[in-house]
Symmetry: D2
Subunit: 348 residues, 4 copies
């Protein structure tokens, strides 16, 4: 039982003209709910559909108590034809297989799509066949939505493959150094990533059972996590990526170990990062004061810090909220870019 | 080290006219930081001062890494004269003693004050002498800022005593039943409250040392917590209030045990709550589906649920984020009411 | 892969004569594993069988990594005939229904049984029909295994109904006051209990999914938890029992609100508790310094503290480890009593 | 207030002859309390003194509620002369500086000393001058107490430098591969370690304040943690060690990234580990099923797992309880070795 949702006159978005129609497919999962939360307050869009495969008949506030008084619409069964007709932009917060099937249909129907699954992230056919075999082909107009580093291609994209959470945290720290030629060639790159449990989604399992996670830490998918391939694609080199499941809900901290080229100092890294992110609202550079997860949870920020020693070893630390900058926040950031809005609209 | 703060064009507040000058005294504590976070995005105010007794020389982003790219101002030493001159509204996020001294000075200087300490919450002189002996007198124009229930007196107040976190969660659930005459007279009222650690503030202590709290629960201040007096003042009757320290950071869940008058049912309670909160944006009524802390953290909501059995026992459950609806969020809500704005402005 | 289990020469139990054969039915759940851990080190028993319905073919160390080098036996499918033949004492760590069927068969076969399920806890036929309808009748030689308070009947029992975790924590605090006549008749008794998640068992569910529990608290089963009936049976009066799910793994803290008879003081309660528990190794009385969960986790202790005010209100706080004193530890304590051993054998 | 401690007849240790007198200096810290807990049940020793600098007048059960009914002795002020006279073995759970001063005095007085501080861990004079400048010289009869790998020197030692928690977890995994020549020379070794907060001790600080740690992760002391030097000493090569503070109380998981020599497989590592630890009770080898912290908390085990890929990259994962195998448990293990007892005595 909920009271009627009151008028939203108090919202700063109240007076805006909401001209773009958006839909969320897979609205009841953790990333789906974050999308509803953000888009409900976004000054330039109206949510015209929110779908769920699992809850054909229930209404939004009933199954989504955290969204009462925020999102007042109904959760309806997924219907591709309706989505294509009722929305200008569709967010897919679906399993890889469902997204692999639905995205091309929507793109063909003229809808712009932002896909939070992994289905369209890997460009290499062989890698895709291994990690996402359900993806048959890459549509035209595809962009990889690591916003700060791929903005031009996102602007005109018809389909944005929203990056994985681990690749977002890792590549935002690693790429500026690769681009600046500061990484010593041939040396191993180690990415030791620590993630909260919400990254595993909403479906209960032994792995995510509270009593199995609380007070513990576990490495998993060593040499076998598909985000490893995505990181290597973005970094352009081999990376030894090991994710760890942590006893908290939200956030990723990625510790990255590299060798830098001779003569490279902390100041060299500062210059590379400042040159890349100087005007970016959502990347905060902390230098030698390393960032912590608590600084970024419930925000769209990525905080990056770094240390370099005299022998050329460097440690980079990057933190994000995996559900926001690592998923739904960056998805809306990409939508803003696609719509020609300021990229931070609705994300403060 | 931080990059320069980018322009705020992406904020929906960007275009608003910020005509009211506000200051935060005690800006580096947990409630102070929440105030800076909210007020930085508020469309109708400009932060003209943020003070801290502990950090006279450091700049904001340096000591407050979570606020980088959000609040770009300096943290300065507390100077009452400057505050009175530079701000129309001052928020006091200070210890009781400091607030007891500063608030009357500011009110006399014509500044409107919202005090998050306990200094001015108790109207009874004897109780105040026991719990807040540093408070010498109550200024004129004083309101108790439990917004939904005290809005008229907040509107014209010169000084708002912002309620304690436990009283906010408890009284929002209890008062409508008291007002409707649904509580059986003479029967004990038990309030078993569970709070996250952030309510204890930012100063390290053995009680709040991580290793002492993790995986544990502790009752404290039995028969001796000053919020008990505040709850009894608001409820108008004796209450057996026992707070418990919980192993999480944010949020309060208050479980309230009462006897209801003969014939009272869950529907009776629904009617009382709907009548009180029907149009309120920040109170969500969940009925017999009891609310949980995770639904309200990082929001200004108070969620209330209830159960009644055939023998007249009732259990009420109320949840809030102690730093928002229990402190800084409600403080801004009160400011909005004082300024004639929609009460939800800047709080979504 | 595990190394061979080394000889146990280092164990203080190494030289003991292990004459009693014990079996654990349901050995892979949380309470079953605790039983294996304790019984493997117990100086007077040998584990002759450990069964699981879910894992007919796998060996112990493989599926129970925490027990490698502790328990080296195999986990086998449940076979009632073998259990009756191979064991003198059988622990049932099974669902209620399975225990309700198996226990009478084993008792009839001459085996002594300690049942950790709820199947045989309620003596009242009507209550049992409501909460444990699968229990057809109570066998002769049945004892309720709240050891400190029921030792004489446990000594000669053929079947021990091991108490629930909430009743253990609550009744050990409440019963001495009831017995001493210190509880004011007619006044409500409120039991607000806080439990770790391991009490919900090992099967994943949405309720126990890490992301749903972390950083949150939830009241559940208000007016409808079967442990409420068990508490009322033990206390001999009506009790308003509300359990809460907490974000930690192990432990229960029960806060009990009662009215005491006129003239009753904290010293009165001390006398009642000292009189009941003065010689007990596993009950620790903390007086007005209230106990905390961290003091008892991973032990078989129950710590009890209390406060009384001048108006006759009393607050009792009792803490246990729900898997030990609230389940497997107390089960072994009961076995010790049945076997004529010191009750603490194997439990330090 | 506590009841009198009951007789310990139930303890399996009850009948043993306790011939060795032991003392704990620094008994109220986390490692000191663990020592008292273990030694109170140890069948071959009697605790003759437990000292604390901070609590000269209070008794044990009063300040150590978790040890009520376990340790009944008094906590007394530290007095070196008494220690030397009253104990055969002294455990030092003191700050480095205090241990650096006290240990030589005790050794000179003929007492055998097990030092849990870092004061005597580093053999290299220059390194010691940097990390432990208060240590003036290394006494004769000094052993480094990584028990499984240094047992012969521990047996006859007069002073055992008990290893650090990070070095224990890391070196038990790394050393067998170094000894077997399986590590590719010249390649970087990365040790990314995750530790619970109890490793930081009992003194409150901003770093260990609950609200700063809960739900977060932080890398710290990059290129500057003294355990890095201890790891390099034990490994015999340079290691890039970065510790991380984790939101739980007990346990360390060390993820170790190495390059192995050509042709080395997982089976090669298995052989090396089996050869080293085949008969060891406290090292459990899990192979490719990587260990997790929850399997070892509250035990003296070190669990080690490993993965190797076709390109010669290896990932080793090692877990311990930092207060037991990483401190007090290993200290007692070393005492057992020094006294000619089975090394596992009192540690199950």
């Amino acid at each position: 039982m909920h009271t009627a949702v009151p008028s939203r006159a108090g919202s700063p978005a109240g007076a805006a003209v909401k001209t773009t129609r958006v839909a969320v497919a897979g609205a009841t999962g953790y990333t789906g709910q974050e999308l509803l939360r953000i888009l409900s307050r976004h000054p330039a869009v109206t949510i015209t559909a929110a779908t769920s495969s699992g809850a054909p008949s229930s209404s939004g506030p009933r199954t989504l108590p955290a969204l009462a008084h925020i999102f007042a619409g109904a959760i309806t069964p997924l219907d591709p034809a309706s989505l294509a007709q009722d929305a200008d932009v569709v967010f897919l917060a679906l399993p890889d297989k469902a997204a692999a099937e639905l995205a091309p249909m929507l793109v063909d129907a003229g809808v712009r799509v932002i896909d939070l699954s992994g289905a369209f992230r890997l460009r290499d056919q062989a890698l895709r066949a291994r990690w996402y075999p359900e993806t048959r082909a890459l549509p035209e107009g595809l962009a990889y939505g690591l916003t700060e580093l791929e903005r031009p291609s996102v602007e005109g994209a018809r389909l944005v493959a929203n990056p994985g959470c681990y690749p977002t945290a890792t590549l935002l720290a690693l790429r500026p150094l690769v681009s600046a030629g500061l990484i010593a060639p041939g040396a191993d790159i180690v990415v030791d990533a620590k993630s909260g449990v919400s990254g595993a989604g909403k479906t209960p399992s032994e792995r995510t059972h509270f009593s199995e996670v609380h007070g513990s830490v576990a490495a998993y998918s060593v040499f076998g996590h598909r985000h490893g391939a995505e990181i290597e694609q973005g970094a352009g080199c081999q990376v030894n990526f090991v994710p760890h499941l942590m006893p908290f809900d939200r956030g990723i901290l990625s510790t990255i170990y590299v060798r830098v080229t001779p003569g490279t100092t902390e100041a060299s890294l500062s210059a590379a990062y400042e040159g890349t992110y100087g005007g970016e609202p959502f990347v905060r550079l902390t230098g030698s004061a390393l960032p912590e997860i608590k600084h970024v949870v419930h925000t769209n920020f990525c905080d990056i810090g770094w240390r370099v020693d005299a022998s050329g070893r460097a440690v980079l630390v990057s933190v994000i909220d995996n559900l926001l900058k690592g998923a739904s926040g960056q998805a809306v950031q990409n939508m803003n870019v696609m719509l020609g809005l300021d990229q931070a609209t609705g994300l403060w």
